[in-house]
C-alpha cells in the first residue's frame, strides 16, 4: 500500500533542478510528479517515478545524494474538503503528517495526495477503514501514464 518516493538533495544553485530533470528525461525516466521543499540554502526534491532504482543510480552517478523512502498515495475527488477529511482521520488516530503534496491524474477529475506520516502502517489502516482509496503503486503508475 506504500509507494516509493525518491528524494534528492539540492543545493540552491542556479541550474541544478534543470540539470536533474534533463538527466532523467534523456534517460527515459518519466516523472509522474515532483515537489520541491526548500530553504534559503538548500532544498529537498521529492520525485515519484516508476523506475526509481534506475533514477537513483543515474542521479548518484552524477553526484547527487538520493534516497528512497515510502509515501502513501490517497485518491480524493478534486474538490474542497478532500484534504481536511484525511487530516481529521489521522488526527483521530494520533498520527501526524511529516509532509504532503498533491497532483492531479490526467485522465480523471480526481486528485492524488501524497503523504509521509510518522506512523505509515497505522496511517494506511486508518485511511482504509475510513473507506478512502489508498492507491497501489502499480495502479498509480498505470493511471498516471494512462
Amino acid at each position: 500500500m506504500k509507494l516509493k518516493q525518491l528524494s534528492v538533495f539540492l543545493e540552491n544553485k542556479p541550474g541544478r533542478l534543470r540539470e536533474l530533470c534533463a538527466l532523467l528525461a534523456e534517460n527515459g525516466v518519466n516523472i509522474i510528479t515532483l515537489s520541491l521543499a526548500d530553504t534559503e540554502q538548500f532544498g529537498i526534491l521529492r520525485l515519484i517515478v516508476k523506475d526509481y532504482d534506475k533514477a537513483k543510480a543515474l542521479l548518484e552517478e552524477k553526484g547527487f545524494v538520493a534516497k528512497l523512502s515510502d509515501v502513501i498515495a490517497v485518491e480524493v475527488k478534486d474538490e474542497p474538503g478532500g484534504l481536511s477529511e484525511i487530516l481529521k482521520i489521522e488526527e483521530a488516530s494520533g498520527i501526524s503528517v511529516e509532509y504532503m503534496y498533491a497532483f492531479t491524474i490526467k485522465s480523471g477529475e480526481n486528485a492524488v495526495l501524497l503523504f509521509c506520516f510518522d506512523e505509515m502502517d497505522k496511517a494506511v489502516t486508518a485511511l482504509q477503514s475510513a473507506g478512502l482509496n489508498v492507491l497501489e503503486s502499480v495502479e498509480l503508475y498505470q493511471r498516471a501514464e494512462g
Binding site: F9, G63, F64
Partner: protein, 438 residues
Amino acid sequence: MKKFVVENRIWDKEESLPRAELAALQGAKLKETVARVQNVPLYKEAFSKSGIAPEKINSLDDLKRLPFTTKADLRGHYPLGMLAVDRSEVARYHASSGTTGKPTMVAYTQNDLKTWANLCARFLTGGGLLPEHSVQIAFGYGLFTGGFGLHYGVERVGASVIPAAAGNTPKQIMLMMDMQVDALVCTPSYALSISEFILQSDISRSALNLKHAHFGGEPWTEDMRVRIEDEMGILCFNNYGLSEVIGPGVSGECAVRDGMHISEDAFIVECINPETLEPVAPGEEGELVFTSLCKEAMPIIRYRTRDIASLNLEPCACGRTTARMSRVTGRSDDMLIIKGVNVYPSQVEQALLRVEGTAPHYLIEVDRPDRKDVATVKVEMTEKSFSSSMKELQELKDKIDRAIQGITGLRMNVELVSPNSLERFIGKAQRVVDRRRG
C-alpha cells in the same frame, strides 16, 4: 573472555616526587642544560643578546627568560648545527619525518639512549607491561624514532621484543597468534587495519593472547580507542613524544587513563597561547612547549611543538604527581581567531565526528561583513545523513550547530552542501577560507 586488568605500577620514584621537590630538581637541571648548550650557535647568539649565562639560572622561574626554539630554527641548522657535543660522542642519529624538504636530524649519546629507553619503560609500565610479556612492535624501524625508541623501552622493562616492523598485516597476525603476543605497539590507525583484518578473516579472538596495546606516532580520538578495544578485546594506552624533544617517552597514560603523564624530571612543559606566547591556565588548550633536562647530544630549550593540548596539574589516582597532558587536538599553525576565540579546524572535525552520518569533509569560511566575524561551516551531505524530511534536515543542522558550539564555544552557520562539492586534497587538507584579510 577474561578481561585483562592493568595493575597500577610505577617504574621510577621520579614519577611521584612532591611538586616542590620536583621544581627544585628541574631548576638545578635547567642550569646544567643552559651550560650544555651555551656553545650551540643558535643559543650562544640568543644568550649573549639577552645576557643569559648558566650562573644566572637559579630556579625554574628563570625559564621564561630563555628564548623559544622553533622548527624553523632546527631547519636552519640542518643537519647537525644543534649538536652540543663532539660528533665522536654521538651513538645514534634519528630524524623527524619532514613533510616538506629535508628532515630534522636528531642525535643521542650513549647516556641519551639509556635515558630514552628508561622514559619509554615508564609509560610501558604505566600501561601494564610486565617483564614476562612479549611485545610485538609494528612500528617502522629506521630514522623514525618510534620503532627503536619502543624497542629499547620494552627491553628495559625486561619484556621480550618481537621486532615485526610495520606492514604485512597477515604476517603480523600470524606472529601474534603463534607467539602468543601479550602487547602490541603501533600507530592507532595501523591497529584499526589489523583489527579489520582479524574480523574479516574470521579469526577467533581466543586464538590471540593479546591483552594491551601502546599507541603513538599520530593523534587519535577517544572514539577510535573505544572501537579498537571493543573489536580486539584489549586495553589501549596512549603515549606521546616527538623526535625534536626525544621521541616517544615524553608522556604516556597510566592505568587511570585520564591524560598522559609527562616525565617532568626529564622535560619542563609549558602550555602557551601561540599568539601572545603567554602561558594559558591549567585545563585550557594551548601550544605545548618542552625544554629537555636530560639530554646531552641535542638539548633543546623551550621547543614550540605546535601541538595543541591542555595540562592537568592535579595529582592522579595512580600516585604519580607529574602533570598530565590531554590528547593532542590540533596544530597551532592552523589556529583561527574568530570573535576573539581561538578555534582549530580539528575541533570542527571533532564536532562532526559526534554527529552520526556526517562526512569528514568540511570547509570553514570566515568573513567580516560588518566588522563582526562570521564563520560558516560547509558540510557535505551523505546518503546516511540525508532525509526526505525537512524537519530531519533542520535537526541535523541543529545537531551540527550544537556540537560545534559545544567544542569551540562559538556559534557558526552550518550549510549543507552536495556530496563531493568541496575540494579534495592529497596530503594536508585546506580546511579554511579566511576572507577577513585583504
